[in-house]
Symmetry: D3
Subunit: 340 residues, 6 copies
């Protein structure tokens, strides 16, 4: 069983129910999630020894966040406790022409108080094969960015494969701030994952001729983006997820991967959406798992796209699917027939 | 901030949950609504000083109805208390080929006990620019019809614009009873709103060649209907909403407006429905707001159609959207991408 | 009011809510169902005097199962009490590409303890016109199969029409075990119902050129299957339901019936699915009702297909629709317009 | 199995949850109940063939009311359909010093439209031993009172025992109106049940020295009341329930019965209340059952008091307990130890 | 209708349900509250024109907080929008020996960004008779304290009565920090409300011989505390609420008031607790209302104690009771008998 | 951090909500529990490295059971997968005079298929200090009893302290069957825990003069029982929990322990019950923890009694309290004051 480490923030997620808007809500469903935590959970479901590293407050809410991860098999033994508060995000899921709405309340979260030296990375990475983070983590602030860099360097030195999901968030930083930080981190990264907008926003590598708000996507243009990412940063591989936003209820979903030699387009899924938050993370988790299993870039991308497709049907940030369920979809059965 | 007054009934709405039929229901979700109350709420969300006038019983349920309106910013200070009971309607939302089912229990409601002279209309309309009612209100009974006529006359005398949504309800009155009452009211009306069936049922102004139960609609024929409404009653404008009922879950939705000179067809929305009750009222609220803002008939209809489209994604009678959300959809983004 | 008797197992059904997977579930919705119980409930809704015969434990859960049937008008007076436990099935409803998942926990249920002689079939069938069972019942075990055979023989002797829904369940028995048992029962059966896979699995009567996991169905091939069923077993009629599994959320649904002379294809419904469990039983209930009413095979199949279409929009195993609702859909109104 | 018939109104009961007040409610729990329906359900639970007679609207809500009764084994075959609406009552359960609050919305209910001749009482009473009604039924209006009198006379003629729970409701009629109607009915009544206030309000037979709002009750004074009831109306027996209202959460509960010769005080229960609506009806159901079993007045009162005590722990109007559970409490085990 | 203004923070309150601990919670009930908001709501329920002044973020959550107040009739027109976030508090209600647990997440809330000059106090206080704040508000930070002082001075100059509930919160400041700030504010205060610990913690005015964790309270000692508060700060009146914490489920509750001449002890209530948060604020609201009505200190304290007793039976921070309900309890009816 | 191992069954627990009876239930709350699993969870909450050993089916339900334990920090790495089904128990919580009702459906559960040799006990016990089981485990069947004996012997050989909670269940075996099995196991046991009935039922060691169904308990008699247990089986210590069942809502709760030299009675708690299932297991968990910490028998019993008292306020089988919360209650603060 391979060991993978991820580092980032875990937040309390509070979502309205029954398609209610925030002003109608009299209750919230509470789960926990965050980019790297979601990837760790995906991997744990696939049988990987996945550890998630973060800092949460020493409070019942911090404990509940840990328990949520532990419940799904994630190794939480390296999570630190302390700091002011647990980040929260409020989610109002969209339907049809009404988009999902997220209100972040993640300022002053405990993870912002980490400093280089806080985590014993050599110990944490001991026996590990892979380290994963997303662009959200360095965006949280200079201190978290410094720890991310620290971890990335140690991972690289210890021979781990390092992957990064660019995950640009305009509410956390500007492209101007993101670029130098992310560029520096790229020195240690082997595999990059991006959605149809990230590469442009972070590195200015844009695809021609797409309009993401109208659901039109030019696959060749994105192939070019992946290729450029690999070449500019000397990567092993770059994968780009392609979301066609037909409405908040229906999306087209596929991905492509450039492995330095060829570009593979995955099958395209037309998805009736239950919960699209964490869809990209489910892709990342699937990709890492499949690559660890020795799959080709092409097969890994298919596994990742199918895993991510299934995530869209599951409430919460986490992707609760196992390997055989993903493979069943990869092999072509999207019929949704009852399994009995 | 413009002031708009609406007059009608507010009912307790009890709807089953989880797609349950009435015979399966062990609980009901409770909200409050009614044609004119829904329009007032739309307007309050847009920042209009919207007052809703009605009569509710002097009971905790009457108070709860008032509180529900107050919560969303509607001026309830002219609502009278007394009478026998609060009207109730039971809703069983439909799915796919199964239609929504409404059981009205609105007989003997307090509003039926109003009489001319009960409301101080000159005071209520003081500072107001617009008065709105629907065809449901005079249909409740002769006394309510008389008060509606009274209000309409005062509104007209005081220079308010008067709008009426025809909203024919066969369970409340027959076409024979509706026609004279509605015709008399038309003398004071400037703007009429109707759906694809109302004008025919109330005034015998039918569109050719449509079959509303099969989702086929001939826009030109409805343009003719709007034109005839304007001409027959000397209106400023007539707007017709066009619902293509593909199933209880999926509708096509658009509108057209005749402003005396031209007929404008709005964009057509293909909607995945959460709750279609109040969809027409959301159109009315959007139209009044946009006209008060000085929009052209064309732009007002687009605003109203988009507002109404969004209403279909929100549970309850009320349309909880603000101006920027509507404008965002008008400007073309129906992609439902997460707003973060 | 005709009398129909059905015999089989009723189980406690525990389903997750809010599209949750089993590992996320903190609660289950509890209803009760089973093939023949579902048919009885359909018939009771249509005004038929429908009796369901089974054995449940003498416990509050057994009582709750009886009450659930009684609530919807099924005659439960011949249900026996005793035995070890009530069978349970856990349901995780699917969405989009994620299939529904059923975990059966029906071993050692009370019905497995029945023996020939336990039920007074002549009394139970007194005044009845029809007896119905499904292939699940004999699959439960040799003792239940023996009682099924006993009942079928008595029914036949007493002049009842006997119908059987093949309903092959691979978790209960193998095709090798199913074939002789079912073949023996066929001697007493007049009407057979099957889905697009049953006839092949039970009797080796396969349709050419269909791939059920891809939603492609060749109607002519299935017509041939129905014909062969009728001829091989000397049936009055064979009906085959045709599910096109586009996804767990969207299915095509139709049926065909061979009455010895001609094959009738019903209208095809494109269904947005709420709950597809019991969809086949709703077809069976509709078919039996319509045939009892004297409908032609063609009209009966249309009634059954429409009834079954509506079932897919209702949570739980039971089909809570009445005759006029079904006829309304048969007559072509699938527009889902609000009934008020 | 003895047969008992009860006649009265069944209402939809909508109660707030989680101790919420009406103005806080966003949903209501829906059950069905009414004095005589509650008694019928108690009796059905004890194995009695209990029929409930009423009139409900021909609507899904009327059907749901019937189904609710049918679920618990009540014979609903004599219920008539038609009329305007189903009565509703809204319940806000109290806690501690805050009393429960009931808002009745029962005006214009279908039962008010019954007339003498509507029900075939000789058929309904065929094979029955007992007829029961409460003072609420004649209070609903002159027509219902006339039908009650009609039923009572037929019952008496056919040799049934007739029982009446006085159940005075000040919102339905005044003492002045109640007295003559109830006095006339008393001619046909054998067993009267009353609470600590009824006899005074209806017949002016007051107990000395009690203050029901302070939880003080003088048993001897009530014994005198029971005795006077028996003598004035030539009854077989009069039972009086004694509620000591310590708070909305805690009540003392006992009863006494005068059988013409002696007064028996039952054991007193100190109850932690879940739902006290229907507590008196549970007493009535227990008393009738025990007397039908041939119990002495003393034993019957103990059975009835214990049954009623248990009702206070069960949500909804109905008393879901069986004979052995009641006998277990009668025999002294109020320890509430887990039954496993 | 008198006008009262209160100033403070409103927070989103997220509480676990079903007696769950935080680590068990999968959802939270969402309401809104805070000391001064709660008082404003009490007053609005009594018919007072109550305005609440605060600052909330310009977000859907800020809007929801405003709507929650507006729903219950509070004037929210002077609330400012802006700043970083809405304060949140998580509540885990206690039972029996397990105490309620509150996790505050109120740091960086918008109200902390207010500055003197932000609010137009003369306008806000125009027509008002009373200004109320609690010790929590100045404890939030120096800027809020400065605005509180500003408001208090203006209120005093404009002739309003000023009341302060000491409400010491050790998590917000130390006694050393609290004392000078609160002492300065006392110059403008007329009426002080305190619980059994506040006066000691803030001003070092301790009652002898009480142990609040064991439910023993010496009324005379607290009378002395009230007297000393009045004399030290030249108050009109000091009221002290006396909570006897028998367990998290059962409390004794009473109050005493010193009006400069005599000490009045109110009736003591033994309360079965639903929700004790806001109990003190309900006392404050009741006291202000009764004093505005011209009640004596003694009668006002009785009204306030009864109002507060009822609050303990209502979920959420707000006290949803009207004047007649409070007076009914004052007059002695704590029997909790059903009101029908 | 000490390591403790427990062995037994974990079941799916399905409980009704809102005080509903089984026949009223439309949903069940789902948690997981069982005597030894509950003890392991208690210990994990206290920071102990607690491992739970069992066998669950290789199904989503088996996985969910494991996840539930893992969520709360229990080491589940030695749990085996396979076998037929997961045991289920249905719980109907009692109130006041109505007892809780448990329907077990645990027959044929996977754990019944274990055999000696299945578990590598030397590996499992490596580094452990304590092994705990209850009398329920050997009662499940001869094979489970044999494995229990096997584990107990290995534990003893490896120097672990062995504890056993007698936990007699009459539905699983008779006293005649229990006695020899339990007597054999006693050879390896150091610490016995029993409730007020177990010792009598299993070993015939009865206390004089108690009537557990009336809430009367003679502490001296139970001290004698504990003493006899220690002497007969050469134990280190025997602890007896004493439940005074006043009603299903209110219990007295205390314990006594005999350590070979003296008998210590703990403080007695008067508990308002939320959920009493697992109360005894919480005592066991507390006792083991405190003894591992080196506490005296007296202090350990106090810790255990307080921990168990708190468990009664928490829904589900597990005791979600930490050490400081228990110590806070031990030190005397049962006031339930809000912790903020």
């Amino acid at each position: 069983m391979a060991r993978v480490v991820t580092f980032g923030e875990v937040m309390l997620r509070l979502s309205t129910t029954g398609n209610r808007r925030f002003v109608q809500a009299e209750s919230f469903e509470a789960t926990y999630g965050g980019g790297e935590a979601n990837v760790a959970c995906s991997l744990a479901n696939y049988g990987v020894d996945a550890a998630f590293v973060t800092k949460v407050p020493d409070s019942p809410l911090g404990q509940a966040a840990i328990n949520h991860l532990r419940r799904y098999g994630v190794d939480t033994s390296h999570i630190q406790r302390g700091g002011e508060r647990l980040g929260v995000y409020f989610l109002e899921p969209g339907v049809s022409q009404r988009p999902s709405n997220v209100v972040y309340d993640r300022g002053h979260a405990s993870i912002n108080e980490v400093e280089p030296g806080d985590f014993d990375w050599p110990l944490i990475f001991s026996g590990a094969e892979w380290f994963h983070f997303t662009g959200i983590t360095p965006a949280l602030g200079p201190r978290v960015a410094a720890v991310t860099l620290e971890a990335t360097k140690v991972a690289k030195e210890m021979g781990l494969t390092v992957s990064c999901d660019l995950n640009y968030r305009s509410k956390l930083w500007s492209p101007e701030k993101a670029r130098p930080t992310m560029t520096q981190l790229m020195d240690y990264v082997d595999v990059v994952i991006a959605n149809e907008e990230d590469a442009d926003q972070v590195f200015g590598i844009a695809a021609a001729a797409s309009d993401v708000t109208r659901g039109m996507i030019d696959k060749d243009a994105y192939c070019q983006v992946a290729c450029e990412l690999v070449e500019r940063f000397g990567l092993q591989m770059a994968a780009i997820t392609l979301r066609e936003s037909l409405s908040a209820s229906e999306n087209g979903w596929s991905a492509l991967v450039w492995d330095g030699e060829a570009c593979h387009h995955t099958r395209r899924y037309s998805i009736h959406i239950v919960d699209r938050v964490g869809g990209g993370d489910a892709f990342g988790g699937g990709l890492i798992y499949a690559l660890l299993q020795g799959c080709s870039a092409c097969d890994a991308a298919e596994f990742a796209a199918a895993a991510s497709c299934l995530k869209h049907t599951i409430p919460g940030d986490f992707n609760h699917v196992n390997v055989s369920e993903v493979l069943n979809l990869v092999s072509g059965d999207g019929s949704g027939r009852v399994q009995r």
